[in-house]
């Protein structure tokens, strides 16, 4: 069985982040033979003073495969209760990934969570209307993390765009990159320019700065920029400053 697994509001300012906790949880599940995880996507949710996020209100969702949904769910619940940070409000969403399911109402909820303040009641109502194939649970504090957890799983199910957790580091001894060799080494499925237009030519590539991948149009995507006539994966950090002091 294929799943989307999303947790939210598990951290505080001094703890590990929710993305790291998700990866730790899925690593432990793999060790126990309960599930195998795919990559994690970060979704930015709405920033608003009425939302009790820790620092950036993002939600982390990974895919997973399991043969024992019940045991995996129990494991995740227990893991969150034992490992979430003090003062956090953890929520867990486990959503079945199946082409026979209609995610449209969930996706609508996820998009709303990126643009407006939602409540736990909104989340429970949306989950109830979706019916079976969705687990949503609170694991401490106010349990408000169910809002972001449901939103993250919904956005992932809808193949909505988000940043893939982690970064790619250049290989020090390899310089003769092309888009196809880069794709083969890093599992990239799609290249675009900064405007989102797909690049299909097998361009020569200079890979010297760490870069992050996107999950876009349902595929692992690398954004390619052209600098001084040279194509390169867009450097990880998007903001540069000019020193004026």
């Amino acid at each position: 069985m294929n799943l989307f697994v999303c947790i939210d509001d598990t951290d505080n300012f001094d703890s590990i982040g929710t993305g790291e906790l998700l990866e730790n949880m899925m690593g432990e599940a793999a060790v126990r033979g309960l599930a195998k995880a795919g990559f994690t996507v970060r979704y930015q949710l709405f920033i608003h003073e009425d939302i009790p996020y820790t620092s950036h209100n993002s939600s982390m969702c990974c895919t997973a495969e399991t043969e024992d949904l019940s045991a995996f769910t129990v494991f995740c619940e227990k893991y969150l209760e034992e490992n979430s940070a003090d003062g956090s409000d953890p929520g867990l969403c486990i959503l079945t990934d199946s082409p026979s399911l209609d995610y449209s109402a969930l996706i609508s909820f996820g998009k709303r969570a990126q643009n407006e303040v939602l409540t736990k009641d909104d989340a429970y109502k949306t989950a109830a209307e979706f019916g079976s194939g969705l687990h949503l649970s609170e694991h401490g504090g106010t349990g408000g993390g169910i809002i972001g957890a449901l939103a993250g799983a919904a956005l992932r199910a809808g193949r909505e765009e988000g940043r893939i957790k982690g970064k790619l580091q250049p290989l020090p001894n390899k310089t003769d990159w092309t888009l196809s060799s880069f794709a083969a080494v890093y599992g990239v499925e799609r290249f675009t320019d900064e405007n989102g237009s797909e690049i299909t030519d097998d361009l020569p590539l200079k890979f010297v700065h760490p870069t992050k991948l996107l999950y876009s149009c349902g595929r692992i995507t690398s954004v390619i920029i052209k600098e001084n006539g040279t194509y390169m994966p867009k450097p990880k950090i998007k903001k540069n400053k000019e020193k004026n002091q």
């Binding site: 300012f13 001094d14 982040g17 003073e49 996020y53 620092s55 950090i237 903001k239 400053k241 000019e242």
Partner: protein, 71 residues
């Protein structure tokens, strides 16, 4: 901490989200700076309030939850 000020009981950065030099200067002079996890880094300065785990983003910038102004 000349780029931090008090507003409605919170310590907020006065430079919004694009005052990179000011955010770096403030962090370089802050005993509480601690780098956030890699996925939440915002700019290319190793030390910057924009990359600090104690900054809490809001609609226009961020607040410093360590309240550096009073330290």
């Amino acid at each position: 901490m000349k780029y931090l000020t008090q507003s409605n009981g919170k310590t907020v950065f006065t430079g919004g989200k694009s005052s990179f030099a000011e955010a770096a200067y403030t962090a370089e002079n802050c005993p509480s700076f601690s780098e956030d996890c890699e996925d939440e880094l915002f700019c290319d300065d190793a030390v910057s309030c924009y990359n600090c785990r104690y900054r809490r983003w809001n609609a226009v910038g961020f607040e410093c939850v360590k309240r550096c102004l009073n330290e």
